[in-house]
């Protein structure tokens, strides 16, 4: 069984925390800090398993982690799970995120943590592995997203427009857009939040 799934960045800030056993919020934060402490000390070319910290079951549980760019993906599991299998599962998770967010980066996880939860829910349920086939997972996720869109319908349009404008980051837009022979100069609009 999986006890917890944590994603945090290189400074230990949590990007996703899913606990399959109940802990108080304080304990959860402590576990995140402790796990970060254990995992960040590891060198790049050592093996990806270590024993769990004291707060999350100690030596009975293992921490299986992978480090991608700025993020650590950590699965805390007990002895019934295969370590290498879980490593593979982390890989599938990340690839699924990549497919769903199109070249996923940390910012996507920061701003859309609810979507990440929804994707994770299709892979792991109640601490047990539900689905490992990436295509199957993505099919289900897409179907549910479609449902969400159809429910929001027309009423959702203004809200989505406002969101889109808020998300637009004008200063970052390219100054010059080159499409073939046409070159368009973009005026320098003030940003508004």
């Amino acid at each position: 069984m999986i006890k917890a799934i944590l994603i945090f960045n290189n400074h230990g800030k949590p990007r996703l925390s899913k606990f399959y056993e109940h802990y108080s919020e304080d304990t959860e934060q402590q576990i995140i800090r402790e796990t970060f402490h254990l995992v960040s000390k590891r060198d790049e070319n050592v093996c990806n398993f270590l024993e769990g910290g004291m707060l999350i079951g100690g030596s009975e549980n293992k921490l299986i982690y992978r480090h991608y760019a700025t993020l650590y993906f950590v699965f805390c599991v007990d002895s019934s799970e295969s370590e290498l299998g879980i490593l593979g599962l982390i890989q599938v998770f990340v690839e699924t995120l990549d497919k769903c967010f199109e070249n996923v980066c940390e910012l996507d996880l920061i701003f859309h943590v609810d979507k990440v939860h929804n994707i994770l829910a299709e892979m792991v349920m109640g601490g047990m592995v539900l689905e490992t086939n990436m295509n199957e997972i993505i099919t289900q996720v897409d179907a549910q997203n479609k449902m969400e869109k159809s429910e929001a319908g027309i009423a959702g349009a203004p809200a989505r427009a406002v969101s889109a404008v808020k998300n637009m980051n004008l200063p970052e837009m390219p100054r010059n857009i080159n499409i073939g022979d046409i070159s368009i100069k973009v005026p320098n609009l003030p940003s508004f939040k």
């Binding site: 069984m1 949590p14 996703l16 925390s17 899913k18 399959y20 109940h22 919020e25 304080d26 959860e28 934060q29 060198d43 070319n45 050592v46 093996c47 990806n48 398993f49 270590l50 019934s80 295969s82 370590e83 290498l84 299998g85 490593l87 593979g88 920061i110 701003f111 859309h112 943590v113 609810d114 939860h117 929804n118 829910a121 349920m125 109640g126 601490g127 047990m128 592995v129 539900l130 689905e131 490992t132 086939n133 199957e136 289900q140 179907a143 549910q144 449902m147 969400e148 429910e151 929001a152 203004p158 809200a159 406002v162 969101s163 808020k166 998300n167």
Partner: protein, 789 residues
């Protein structure tokens, strides 16, 4: 009214959604807590609205804040409200929030039962799916009991998506409500043969988890799983089944035999590392349980395995597996010694540590030297302190089984820098030197070199640093100085000014052993009929160098140095009168110190008439104040312990030696300005002694008796004892190795010495936890012969 509605909807447009919240928090890095509390207030306002969309948005934000560590249980009811929305989007948000923060003591959980039931029977499969997912995180015994039937029905739903989730959640339901297992089990077994691979996988998962908890009950399913194992292609299913078999084989040996072949096939055919590893693991477990040996089999598997071990994780797991084999089939692991030695070179520290453990387990008399040599090579190359320290500890462990090379290895180890095991090496050196007479000469020679090169080690003066070794070196040279080739040179080395930079306890040992060496040197020099000037030179050397130590800030060093200085000055005076003092000086340090076994004390028969449990004094009366009573009791207990501790310090020596020692001891007491004589008449006895007794003693006339009530001991004794006990606690390691026997009649009295010329009582650091000392046989006379008892 209309305006309010319009205003309301405009407000709603500017409600923060999750992204706005996150962005806001990122923009308020300095006053994050304040900003968040503002947001929480806004959320509370939003939750008061009727609009379910607004509530859902608020709950979504709350879920994010919960991840940051904020308690959101106050919004539990609102979460339930959102869960009961008819729209899938909001429902999903509600269930997610519930799965993050609901738990058994959340009271609103009861309100969810009907809602969940409704969702479970919803025509929309995603509603059902979302409900099942959420429920799996917060299911309680009540919920399990109420919903078990609904979920069981779902196990036969038309959609495999639902079936899969229903099967998987049954495990959580079983955990919370075990009675549901029996009716559900047949259906669960059916699902093992479900056409959909996802459902099958879920069923295997659940049954494997159940079987791990209670293997016996699931043995009957073994044939079914066997069939699955041979037919399935899904790696996860295979891994789970193989792990299950690993748990079942201890109960059913025939199962193990049947498994070996399909497992070996899988090993050779699969390309998935995870599956390969699990297969190997299980094969090993099977072979061990079969315990019919088959070392060849396991060896062949190991070889094939190690060929694959190009990834670090695999190497690590391989080493782990080998450690398991080691316990039952050590021989088969022996053949892979080279492979393991190779692993010592690995970049990964955990692999190195595992390999080290394995090697330690594999050590035997024949390969001991070879392994230790290789380890020494590694120690030289090793960087990184934890690994190095591990290596050192292991080397010391291995070597303590073979003494001869031990000393040279220990000396080599001391050349290493940056180790924290100085005291370990030191204690080992002392241990070996004391116990093994044969190598004393060799040890002493090595130690002398060490002392000469002490300047290399004095740089590292951290606690437990390598300079601790000098402690051992000095003591060994002093105690076994008869083996020294050039005692004069070593004496000179011990008294160099640089020694003053060492930690206090080491300096104390240096000073004390310098005195011992002095005795040896004198003996050597006076034996030669040549000039006595050489002997006087030696004394002069000591007199020159000791004042540095007399000024030390460490009390122990100061005491010893000043006492030895006085002694040497006196000896010099004698030498100028051409008196042969070597004999007496040697007598100061006469007697051999032998290790005493820890259980020695138990073997001491309690003498007749002595009841250890009886109060020696009157127990304090009840009218005394609590504190007083406790204090005196404390003191009495403490003092009583003293008597118990000090009694059993006996060695087997003849009467002559005893008399000699008694004399010298009394001489020390004469020197000790703090010692309170038992009776003035006995003072006359002291005048009979030669040499040392003529040193004028200043008597301090104390009007206040320094007696501990009830015990004929001096205050100083008690204080010293306390000091020593503290030092004992601090030097526990040394205690373990130093087992000395000390004499009884001197026992208590010697404690009274302030320390300098305490002959057998060399340094407090060498003292052992006396209560557990083993006693030699005959020492009965000693108690009675002590006039002071």
């Amino acid at each position: 009214m209309a305006l309010k509605i319009v205003k309301g909807s405009i407000d709603r447009m500017f409600d923060k959604n999750l992204q706005d919240l996150v962005r806001g928090i990122r923009n308020h890095k300095e006053d994050e807590a304040k900003y968040i509390s503002t947001c929480i207030d806004e959320i509370k306002q939003e939750l008061k609205q009727d609009n379910i969309a607004v509530k859902a948005n608020a709950v979504c934000k709350l879920t994010y804040l919960q991840m940051l560590g904020y308690d959101v249980s106050w919004a539990a009811f609102n979460i339930v409200e959102v869960m009961s929305s008819s729209k899938f989007t909001y429902k999903r948000i509600g269930y997610l929030a519930a799965s993050q923060c609901f738990h058994e003591s959340t009271d609103v959980i009861m309100l969810t039962t009907n809602q969940i039931r409704k969702d479970l029977s919803s025509p929309n499969q995603y509603d059902t799916g979302v409900a099942l997912t959420g429920l799996s995180c917060f299911v309680t015994p009540d919920l399990a009991r109420d919903l078990a039937n609904d979920i069981m029905t779902l196990m036969s739903h038309t959609k495999p998506y639902i079936r899969k989730k229903a099967v998987l959640i049954m495990y959580k339901v079983f955990l919370k409500y075990p009675e549901s297992l029996r009716p559900a089990f047949p259906r669960l077994k059916e699902k093992l043969e479900d056409p959909d691979p996802g459902v099958q996988s879920a069923a295997v998962n659940v049954i494997c988890e159940l079987a791990r908890r209670n293997p016996k009950n699931y043995l009957s399913l073994a044939p079914l799983f066997f069939k699955l194992m041979t037919s399935s292609t899904n790696n996860w299913v295979l891994i789970k089944i193989i792990k299950l078999f690993g748990a079942l084989t201890p109960l059913e040996p025939r199962l193990g035999k049947k498994l070996i072949e399909p497992l070996t096939n899988l090993i050779h055919s699969t390309s998935a590392m995870s599956l390969l590893y699990e297969c190997v693991n299980t094969v090993i477990a099977v072979l061990i349980s079969l315990s019919s040996g088959m070392p060849n089999h396991s060896a062949s598997i190991q070889v094939s395995f190690s060929r694959h071990a190009h990834t670090f994780s695999l190497k690590y797991l391989g080493l782990l597996a080998m450690s398991k084999i080691l316990k039952t089939h050590p021989k088969s692991v022996q053949s892979h010694k080279d492979l393991i030695l190779q692993c010592l070179d690995d970049k990964d520290e955990s692999i190195r540590l595992r390999a080290l453990d394995l090697l330690y387990g594999m050590v035997s008399k024949k390969n001991l030297m070879e392994i230790v040599k290789k380890l020494m090579l590694h120690v030289d190359k090793a960087e990184g302190t934890t690994y190095r320290d591990e290596l050192l500890t292991k080397i010391i462990d291995i070597c303590s089984q073979s003494n001869y090379q031990y000393i040279s290895i220990l000396v080599e180890l001391t050349r290493l820098e940056g180790t924290r095991h100085g005291h370990l090496i030191a204690s080992q050196m002392l241990d070996v030197a004391i116990r093994v007479k044969a190598i004393r000469a060799f040890a002493v020679a090595q130690m002398a070199t060490l002392l000469d090169n002490a300047h290399l080690l004095t740089g590292n003066t951290q606690r437990n640093g390598i300079c601790e070794v000098l402690y051992a070196a000095a003591w060994i040279c002093g105690e076994f100085s008869e083996h020294l080739e050039e005692p004069m040179a070593t004496l000179e080395a011990m008294l160099r000014p640089k020694v003053a930079t060492l930690p206090g306890h080491i300096q104390a040992v240096y000073v004390q052993n310098a005195a011992k060496l002095f005795a040896t040197v004198l003996r050597g020099q006076e034996g030669a009929p040549a000039d006595s000037t050489v002997a006087q030179e030696t004394s002069q050397l000591l007199i020159d160098r000791l004042p540095l130590f007399v000024q030390s800030s460490n009390l122990e060093v100061q005491e010893r140095a000043s006492c030895i200085l006085q002694l040497v000055k006196y000896i010099q005076k004698l030498q100028q009168k051409d008196v042969e003092v070597a004999e007496e000086v040697t007598a100061l340090f006469a007697g051999e110190l032998n290790p005493v076994a820890p259980k020695a004390q138990k073997k001491v028969p309690v003498p007749e008439g002595l009841d250890l449990d009886v109060w020696i004094n009157e127990p304090p009366s009840g009218s005394e104040s609590e504190d007083e009573g406790r204090k005196s009791k404390g003191k009495a207990v403490f003092a009583k312990d003293e008597s118990r501790h000090t009694k059993p310090r006996y060695t087997e020596v003849d009467e002559k030696e005893l008399a000699k020692r008694r004399e010298v001891r009394k001489a020390e007491q004469a020197n000790n300005p703090f010692y309170i004589k038992a009776s003035p008449s006995s003072q006359k006895v002291y005048q009979d002694g030669v040499g040392v007794e003529h040193i004028p003693v200043v008597q301090i006339d104390l009007s206040v008796p320094l007696k501990v009530p009830g015990m004929p001991m001096s205050d100083q004794y008690v204080k010293l004892e306390e000091e020593r006990r503290e030092r004992n606690k601090a030097d526990k390691k040394k205690k373990k190795d130093k087992k000395k026997r000390e004499k009884g009649e001197k026992g208590r009295r010697r404690r009274g010495d302030s320390g300098p010329e305490s002959e057998e009582d060399i340094t407090p650091a060498h003292m052992v936890d006396i209560v557990t000392e083993e006693m030699p046989e005959s020492r009965d006379n000693h108690i009675r012969s002590d006039p002071d008892l």
